[in-house]
């Protein structure tokens, strides 16, 4: 009785161990199962929704859609966005508020997408870029509107 149990234990042990070894052995001999990719050579294919950083798209005339309404600034939980506005006088002599600088601090951003959701004029979007590392963290403070850019016609 004791002996049969004993032998059964030994047998079962070896069996279960061999089962595991068969699995690892399978992967050892099947190179095609390798799933890792070589990163800098093989670029990852990112989904278009991937939230990498906030950018402000400009068209070819260096125009953006931001009205400076600060909805994104209010929506941001972290104070990532700082909008400095200025008053512009347009052709008809009307005073109009416009953005001076759209400051975006990447090091504070958590990619929560709330600013993009809050924006009434779709001025900012999430870009896919994920390689953010820099040597100086001051480089993380970015100005999103390009120098000399203007607001697009028809965007209120």
């Amino acid at each position: 009785m004791f002996l049969t149990d004993y032998i059964k234990t030994v047998y079962g042990t070896l069996g279960s161990l061999l089962k595991g070894m068969r699995l690892t052995g399978y992967y050892f001999t099947h190179k095609k199962e390798i799933i890792t990719q070589q990163y800098p050579e093989v670029r990852p294919v990112l989904a278009e929704r991937f939230k990498g950083e906030v950018v402000m798209p400009h068209n070819e005339n260096n125009e953006h859609r931001c009205t400076g309404c600060t909805a994104c600034e209010l929506a941001c939980p972290n104070g990532t966005i700082k909008i400095v506005t200025k008053t512009e006088v347009n052709a008809e002599g009307k005073k109009k508020k416009a953005i001076d600088t759209f400051v975006y601090r990447l090091e504070l951003c958590t990619m929560c997408n709330l600013c993009v959701q809050a924006c009434p004029s779709d001025a900012i979007i999430m870009a896919n870029n994920f390689e953010h590392s820099v040597y100086d963290r001051r480089q993380f403070t970015k100005v999103l509107n390009l120098p000399g850019s203007k607001i697009m016609e028809g965007v209120e």
Partner: protein, 358 residues
């Protein structure tokens, strides 16, 4: 045909004729020392690389592939990194023992090389109690580990060292009994005799099931004695961070690391010698033609191939199994391996007396 044996003989002959007796001997000694050092370095680099590749493939990864073609210089680069690291000695440590321990471990690993037959008639010292010598000297390494753990003045190290001592002390027994079962069959402790006794077939084939059991037990014991997973309790990183070598850094750590791999090599070399005929090519009884063909493969390759195969098995274990707990480890030894190997030895004795082996 160029073989290590003829190379060795030619070298000896040339030295004798040019330098004369005492000088030739001295140069030979220096050459042996240099060869041993080279072997250590090369083995260490190659085995670590092999381990990383084996692990990677089993883990559906590629493993090192950046430094050199297929990453073969990765381990050299790692060694270089370790050389560049500061070898720290903790303030509270017993400085002498702390610095002496890696030396001891290395000396133990180096000494075991003496009786190993790397190829036909290529052996540093073919002493008549070769197997006993190996069993005896290899256990010196425990003292080194115990020393390292104790002198570090670190609680993880201490626990790791204690575990290691308990473990190696226990598995020594079943390793010894497994070795003995082949000694019974071969009738000699001399390694060259044991290899010669396998000229008509390896013991693992000639010895039937009992030899196979002895082999399995030997393999388990070697895995345990070299502190390899699933028996790596001495350095169980999920429990004791790094166990006995927690405090070691830089070159001193590298020496421990190297010694571990050398010990695996030696354990597997002994295993290959005992069960797979060492450098002896694959022979079947008296099939002269077949045996002749097999002899064309150099004996050093046979030895290396068998040893690497056993090393691969041990690596395979490591990358498949979880770690045992410390009391289970001892249970396994005292409740399973030791009784089984004792009974197995009885069977082998019967076989030897009745001449049932081929």
């Amino acid at each position: 045909m160029i073989s290590l044996e003829s190379l060795n003989r030619a070298l000896q002959h040339w030295l004798q004729s040019t330098l004369g007796d005492p000088w030739a001997y001295l140069v030979m000694c220096v050459l042996v020392g240099l060869a041993a050092i080279t072997l250590f370095a090369v083995l260490g680099l190659a085995l670590v690389y092999m381990e990383r590749k084996v692990a990677a493939l089993m883990q559906i990864r590629m493993g090192p592939n950046r430094v050199g073609p297929k990453g073969i210089f990765q381990t050299s680069a790692d060694t270089l990194k370790l050389v560049m690291k500061e070898g720290l000695t903790p303030d509270g440590a017993d400085k002498f023992l702390f610095n002496f321990a890696p030396f001891l471990v290395m000396i133990a690993a180096m000494l075991v090389l003496a009786p190993i037959a790397f190829a036909r008639n290529f052996q540093i010292w073919d002493l008549n109690i070769g197997v006993l010598y190996v069993a005896a000297v290899s256990s010196i390494a425990v003292i080194g580990i115990l020393m390292a753990g104790w002198s570090s003045n670190n609680k993880y190290s201490l626990l790791g060292a204690m575990r290691s001592a308990a473990q190696i002390v226990s598995y020594e027994l079943s390793a010894g009994l497994a070795i003995l079962s082949i000694v019974v069959l071969a009738g000699s402790l001399r390694i060259s005799d044991i290899i010669a006794s396998q000229a008509d077939g390896w013991w693992i084939i000639k010895g039937h099931v009992p030899a196979l059991i002895a082999f399995v037990i030997f393999l388990i014991a070697v895995t345990a004695e070299t502190n390899r997973a699933p028996f790596d309790l001495a350095e169980a990183e999920s429990e004791l961070t790094a166990g006995f070598h927690t405090e070691y850094s830089g070159m001193k750590f590298a020496l421990f690391f190297l010694a571990e791999y050398i010990n695996i090599f030696i354990g597997c070399a002994i295993g290959a010698t005992l069960f797979f005929g060492g450098w002896m090519p694959f022979h079947i009884g008296h099939w002269e033609a077949f045996n002749r063909v097999m002899d064309y493969i150099p004996s050093s390759l046979w030895f290396l191939g068998k040893t690497l195969f056993l090393i691969f098995l041990i690596m395979w274990f490591r990358w498949t199994f979880p770690r045992l707990r410390v009391d289970q480890l001892l249970n396994l030894e005292w409740k399973y391996l030791l009784p089984i190997s004792m009974i197995n030895l009885l069977f082998i004795t019967l076989m030897a007396i009745l001449g049932w082996h081929l």
